[in-house]
């Protein structure tokens, strides 16, 4: 256990460092831009407003709200304090709803949609990739070009095509939203069913994209491992094929786990755009609303939450990896 502790501590420290950096970037990037953000916001909000003193009052109010008149460091401390208390300010576009409230109502949609989809896609993709490497011939010949094509398909393109075929054309599934537009969220079978039906298209569009990329990766890893010396040696030793394949796939799997940790950010980005296509009430759609409504606090909070989600997911996968990969135990216990 001692070896693991070192590994986990190391990962934990990295997690915290990246978290702080992401936090600083989230704070500083919008403030690095030339010009006065409050002036820009005021200009957007007060479009068409005649009275000069009114504009000035709005400006002062926002300047007070964001504390832009204070020195940078003080602003940062204030920002940290607020975020720690879950206070992201008030939304512009859905005034006077607090941003934290909007985020809280959309985050679970995203979490429940994306992570199961990515994991299912990863599992199916790896199985197919391993099979392609092992079976070769026909299966590989069909699967590989299809995987390459699917994985290069833009996430939103896949979403649109599924939507048009199954939503608009065949009318099997609804085309937009997270549940029926005539419903109020409650705990009833009817509502649950509506949620499940609305879930299908976004879910499968993310899964399909993930399958392609993972299958390609797993296939090359498996081919690489199948040609490794230890496989030949095992064959000479007369070990059964089934057992060798067990070794091979275990070894090929490990880089795929790391690969998942590293690519989860990109996948989440693509899935956020897919959410927009389906008007799924998650963070992607919230972000779109933020952009459309010039809602700076909402965008800032949404990006921070997405970063936090991705960082946590990466951290979890790395912890899991520590348990699966025996080399980590060996390396750390030296």
């Amino acid at each position: 256990m001692k070896g693991y502790r070192k590994y986990f501590l190391n990962k934990m420290v990295w997690f915290l460092i990246t978290l702080v950096c992401a936090f600083i970037l989230n704070f500083i990037l919008p403030r690095l831009m030339p010009g006065d953000p409050v002036a820009v916001i005021t200009q957007r909000v007060t479009q068409g407003m005649q009275s000069q003193s009114g504009v000035q009052a709005v400006y002062n109010q926002y300047a007070e709200l964001f504390g832009t008149k204070k020195p940078m460091l003080e602003q940062f401390i204030l920002y940290m304090k607020n975020v720690a208390q879950g206070n992201f300010g008030i939304s512009f576009s859905q005034y006077p709803r607090p941003v934290a409230d909007i985020i809280a109502s959309s985050i679970w949609w995203t979490v429940c949609l994306q992570f199961p989809a990515i994991i299912v896609g990863w599992l199916i993709g790896n199985t197919l990739g391993a099979l392609a490497a092992y079976l070769k011939k026909g299966f590989d010949k069909v699967l590989m070009p299809v995987s390459i094509f699917v994985s290069n398909f833009p996430a939103f393109g896949m979403a649109v095509i599924l939507l048009v075929i199954f939503g608009v054309g065949l009318k099997w599934f609804p085309t937009s939203g997270g549940y029926g537009f005539d419903m109020i969220p409650n705990v009833s079978w009817k509502f649950m069913w509506s949620v499940i039906v609305h879930y299908q298209l976004p879910f499968w569009s993310i899964v399909l994209i993930a399958i392609g990329g993972q299958a390609i990766g797993m296939r090359s890893m498996s081919i690489y491992e199948l040609n490794a010396d230890y496989v030949k040696y095992s064959r000479f030793m007369g070990i059964k094929d089934r057992k060798i394949i067990g070794y091979v796939f275990r070894n090929a799997m490990l880089p795929q786990v790391t690969g998942l940790a590293l690519s989860i950010g990109t996948m989440v980005g693509g899935a956020l755009v897919a959410e927009i296509i389906f008007s799924y009430p998650g963070l992607g759609f919230t972000m779109l609303n933020g952009v459309m409504g010039q809602d700076y606090p909402l965008i800032s909070a949404a990006t921070l939450i997405v970063t936090l989600m991705v960082l946590s997911a990466t951290f979890l996968i790395e912890i899991l990896y520590g348990f699966i990969d025996p080399r980590i135990k060996a390396a750390q216990s030296d």
Binding site: C21, M33, P154, A155, F156, V160, S220, G269
Partner: protein, 416 residues
């Protein structure tokens, strides 16, 4: 070098990807030379005109008529006005009116119309028929008037003196014009978009812009990645630690989030296609850095590099002459991938509404964004979004195919 290139082009995957990519590139160069329409010019008054050949009606009346006696002309004319659904609806009404179903043959247009003419009464109330349905029959009845007439249409002009209409010409049902003799014909192979712009011209221009964005983003990312990777890998020590620290952080922070933050901060007015490309490049160098560094670390202590060091060559010389050739293949592959992911990143940003500003150039992402905002996918206007998706998929597909091909050439372990 020559041998390597020969080898690369012998790879089927690479060649196929290369041909697809080059075809796309050629289209963006040749198409504007032949068809010189401005890509963002609004030509259609209205949204989403379907694909087809648009012939000017006024000019075709003025063009010399040719008489062609085609037997199926009347049938086609009626069929275009009287769809199968309408026929079924007519049968339904007639049956409800009391005519037995066996007497009605919906494929026999003439008898069906006769039966309709004789029996239909717009004022008749049929039990259980909704008002909407009743109105539908009234509209249908109105549209059927004169459907079987064999007389031509009269062309008249307004006489400015008397204010009366003077007959100038008649168009008979067997008149045809030769499309080559009509002065104004516009072919819209992909129809028009929500603003009434020619989708194909726009698409080609968007493809060119998106490719440029991809190239700029890819070049920026690869240059940064290469420089940092070389520095970290070759110099090592503290420089390596610092660069890898930054790289590790940016690996985990999702680039999409950074892109959103930066694009939003730049603001709509300053977001040109070039700016977006540079921003994408600035946020996607991480992978190249990691890979280049890993390769350089393994090369650093090879004999030929050590020999070069002993001979007193400068660091620049060693990097250029002894290290770069070994990682060149990798860098090219990374560049290809960066270009395709740059194009995808632009599209993703544009759909979020954070793409390049909309007034100057179309990009593939912007076209997608417009189609989505105007609900083209729900309305069934496939020509507004489907060609865009296919184009994006073709670019990324061809580039990844090239990449896979190169990978197999340079990395023998992956060969089948």
């Amino acid at each position: 070098m020559k041998h390597t290139i020969q080898q690369v082009f012998r790879s089927g995957k690479f060649l196929f990807g290369f041909i697809v990519f080059m075809t796309l590139l050629l289209i963006t160069i040749v198409y504007p030379l032949i068809i010189r329409n401005a890509p963002l010019q609004i030509i259609g008054q209205g949204t989403f005109f379907p694909p087809g050949i648009y012939v000017n009606v006024y000019d075709s009346i003025g063009s010399p008529p040719y008489t062609l006696n085609l037997t199926d002309a009347a049938a086609n004319r009626i069929a275009s006005k009287l769809s199968n659904e309408d026929r079924l609806a007519m049968q339904e009404w007639l049956v409800a009116d009391g005519i037995s179903e066996s007497q009605i043959d919906i494929s026999d247009t003439k008898t069906l119309l006769d039966q309709w003419e004789n029996n239909y009464d717009p004022t008749l109330n049929i039990a259980g028929m909704t008002l909407a349905k009743k109105r539908y029959y009234q509209r249908l009845n109105a549209s059927l008037k004169g459907i079987l007439s064999t007389e031509g249409a009269i062309i008249a002009t307004n006489n400015p003196q008397t204010g009366a209409l003077d007959e100038t010409d008649t168009v008979t049902q067997s008149d045809y014009v030769n499309i080559n003799q009509v002065p104004n014909v516009r072919v819209l192979p992909l129809g028009t978009d929500n603003f009434g712009r020619d989708v194909l011209t726009e698409l080609v221009s968007a493809l060119a812009t998106s490719l440029k964005i991809g190239f700029v983003a890819g070049t920026v990312a690869t240059l940064i990645g290469l420089t940092l990777g070389l520095l970290a890998g070759y110099i090592g020590g503290l420089v390596d630690d610092i660069i890898m620290f930054i790289t590790n952080i940016f690996t985990i922070i999702p680039t999409f989030v950074l892109l959103i933050l930066i694009s939003y901060s730049i603001g709509q007015e300053h977001r040109g296609a070039f700016t977006i490309a540079v921003v994408i490049g600035l946020t996607s160098w991480v992978w190249t850095t990691r890979a280049v560094r890993a390769q350089v670390v393994s090369l650093r202590n090879r004999d030929h590099v050590n020999l070069s060091k002993l001979s007193g060559h400068s660091i620049v010389h060693i990097i250029v002459a002894d290290i770069l050739p070994y990682i060149a293949s990798y860098v090219v592959m990374a560049l290809i991938l960066q270009i395709s992911s740059g194009i995808l990143a632009e599209a993703g940003l544009s759909i979020l509404g954070l793409g390049p500003k909309t007034t100057e150039v179309p990009t593939l992402g912007l076209m997608m964004n417009w189609a989505m905002i105007y609900q083209a996918h729900v309305l069934g206007k496939w020509w507004a979004y489907f060609p865009v998706i296919v184009t994006i998929a073709l670019i990324t597909f061809s580039m990844n195919l090239m990449n896979t091909g190169l990978d197999q050439v340079f990395n023998p372990a992956l060969r089948d």
